[in-house]
């Protein structure tokens, strides 16, 4: 759907984007991550044709994209980070959507607007001026505007920034719902926990360079060769940890109050031998849980400079 080839953007002597190759597939939710100043916004601006690349190509739907190819832009919907709240204060939600419906030449616009407002639960405030909307309502409105013309791709920039938990949930549900209808979604966000929950694939960018682009599972598997199993018991007898470490599958063991944190190799299922060992010691495992490596941990790991080069040979399809 969206592809970049050796995309570069320079502002004077500063290189904001340094040869990025992205590939967003049809029907996926694609997370675009990076610290502040990494080049995410510059990349997105080039994808949308707002700024011109210094070199490299942007391909949208298989076609090389330039700002003149308006028909390509019609297939993209954009939810920017900030809604321009202070301008157009006279507009109601319905005025706002009607304007964009006309701009995009949406067929049967009134029906479409009605249906979407109901979908995002804004139909009761359709004639309320948008200057009176809360942040969450504005975000939903912005989302509605973005899907008004039934685009193939949605591009969301920090979609849950500044929202309360209910708002976050609503937006997440919308994203998932739109993806189920077949839309590809590209999300640029710092909210890694949310990205982890919904993204099929993520790309991590730092200092203008793409460090990795892969599914969560593959990413974690490449970065981390170990995993942790947490076992809760009634009481941890002294001297238990060293004994556990002697087990062939156990790489390490730490004790936190009544919980054993046992480090085991990434591959294989070691819950049974650990349980059997504990039972043989007269201990009853109250809870056995594997701790998943979070995207946040992966993100931090990848963006540390001394690790970055390890993933150069990773999957960047």
């Amino acid at each position: 759907m969206i592809q970049t080839r050796a995309l570069v953007k320079r502002y004077g002597t500063f290189t904001a984007v340094d040869g990025i190759d992205l590939h967003v597939r049809a029907g996926e939710i694609y997370g675009f991550l990076g610290p502040n100043g990494a080049g995410k916004t510059s990349t997105i601006m080039m994808l949308l044709g707002i700024t011109r690349p210094t070199s490299g190509d942007v391909l949208l739907f298989g076609e090389r994209y330039t700002s003149r190819r308006v028909h390509l832009r019609r297939r993209i919907g954009v939810v920017p980070e900030k809604h321009p709240r202070g301008v157009w204060p006279w507009m109601t939600a319905e005025d706002y959507l009607r304007f964009f419906a006309e701009l995009f030449d949406v067929p049967r616009p009134q029906e479409r607007i009605e249906a979407l407002l109901k979908k995002v639960d804004l139909h009761t405030v359709r004639n309320t001026r948008i200057r009176e909307f809360s942040r969450g309502m504005l975000q939903k409105l912005s989302f509605t505007r973005a899907i008004l013309h039934d685009p193939d791709v949605l591009l969301l920039d920090e979609p849950i920034s500044g929202l309360d938990p209910l708002g976050i949930q609503q937006v997440r549900d919308l994203i998932v719902s739109e993806n189920r209808e077949g839309r590809s979604i590209v999300i640029s966000s710092h909210q890694l926990s949310e990205m982890e929950r919904i993204c099929h694939r993520v790309a991590i960018i730092s200092r203008g360079r793409l460090l990795t682009e892969d599914t969560m599972e593959h990413l974690v598997a490449r970065l981390f060769h170990e995993r942790e199993i947490q076992v809760e018991v009634e009481q941890v007898p002294p001297g238990l940890a060293p004994l556990l470490e002697k087990l062939p599958s156990v790489l390490g063991c730490a004790v936190h109050e009544n919980t054993l944190v046992i480090t085991v190799p990434r591959q294989g299922d070691y819950r049974k031998p650990i349980s059997e060992f504990l039972i043989s010691r007269g201990l009853v495992p109250l809870r056995i849980q594997e701790r998943m490596v979070s995207l946040e941990e992966a993100f931090v790991t990848i963006t540390q400079e001394n690790i970055g080069s390890l993933v150069n040979g990773g999957d960047r399809r």
Binding site: T51, I76, P80, P84, V87, F104
Partner: protein, 289 residues
């Protein structure tokens, strides 16, 4: 219709609607019409058995002295040759034009900085569509204001038995064509600068500069000031709307209709050139603040 012109039309429609539901346009128009009324009414009180005598009314006494001092008796005689209506019309239009130009320049800067232009450009529009839309909106409202003021002036003519002649309609036409170029400069100022306040300062500076150059070469001033203004004027006249406006008026005074049309055509060309420059600057800078 291309995507760009279609988008410009839709955006312009929204902006016209926005202007017509806000107070600024109406207040400026009312102020202009009231000024026009005062001038026409005062003229009727400045007439005695021998004709128009500015000294009979304090308003025209002040205006007459100021204009005579600045531009000479011949200028005042020519200005009021057909009566008060051309002058009253021009004065009526001035507040409306200033409001349209200033608010447009300021608003574009605000909208660009807030990201509204970028929002529209995500769709089937680009920065140039937005630029054209703003310009079309200003032109439409200028034309609307000119029509309303002309109607009001004709009503005043009927009531006071003033002559609504060629000079009045020429003033309306030249005012419109001058607006084309000056509003284009407004757009240019918005493109060149980074924020609304700078745009406004640049636009007002440009207009003031051209006015001062025209004033210096046109007014009755000392030889040194006139020489300096003439030298500067020879350089900048090619990009000054007031130069072409003055050409048109002078041609009309000399009974040269082709010269008049040429002056107006040159105003259109100047407007096009300024808008083209604005387009290229917009393309280079982008729509992001």
């Amino acid at each position: 219709m291309s995507d760009r012109t279609r988008a410009a039309r839709i955006i312009a429609k929204k902006q016209v609607f926005e202007a017509l539901i806000g107070p600024g346009f109406y207040v400026a128009l009312a102020v202009g019409l009231l000024l026009g009324y005062f001038l026409v009414s005062a003229f009727a009180r400045s007439v005695d058995s021998s004709g128009f005598n500015p000294r009979l009314h304090p308003l025209y006494d002040a205006i007459g002295r100021a204009l005579e001092g600045a531009f000479g008796t011949a200028f005042v005689d020519g200005l009021f040759a057909e009566g008060p209506l051309p002058f009253a019309f021009a004065v009526s239009y001035l507040p409306v034009f200033l409001y349209l130009a200033v608010s447009s320049v300021f608003k574009f800067g605000l909208e660009r900085n807030a990201g509204a232009v970028e929002l529209v450009v995500y769709g089937p529009a680009d920065g140039t569509s937005y630029l054209i839309a703003c310009y079309l909106k200003d032109l439409f409202l200028s034309l609307l204001a000119l029509v309303v003021i002309l109607g009001f002036t004709l009503a005043a003519a009927g009531i006071f038995n003033d002559f609504a002649g060629p000079a009045l309609f020429l003033t309306a036409v030249v005012a419109f064509f001058l607006s084309l170029a000056l509003l284009a400069y407004g757009m240019f100022a918005s493109m060149v600068t980074a924020n609304a306040a700078s745009s406004l300062a640049l636009f007002l500076g440009i207009v003031l500069f051209f006015l001062i150059v025209l004033f210096g070469s046109f007014a009755i001033v000392g030889e040194y000031v006139r020489s300096l203004s003439t030298v500067v004027g020879n350089v900048v006249q090619w990009i000054s709307p007031f130069y072409y406006g003055n050409l048109s008026l002078q041609a009309n005074a000399a009974g040269d209709p082709l010269g008049l049309l040429a002056g107006l055509a040159l105003l259109v060309c100047l407007s096009g050139a300024i808008l083209a420059a604005s387009h290229f600057i917009m393309q280079a800078r982008g729509v992001r603040p």
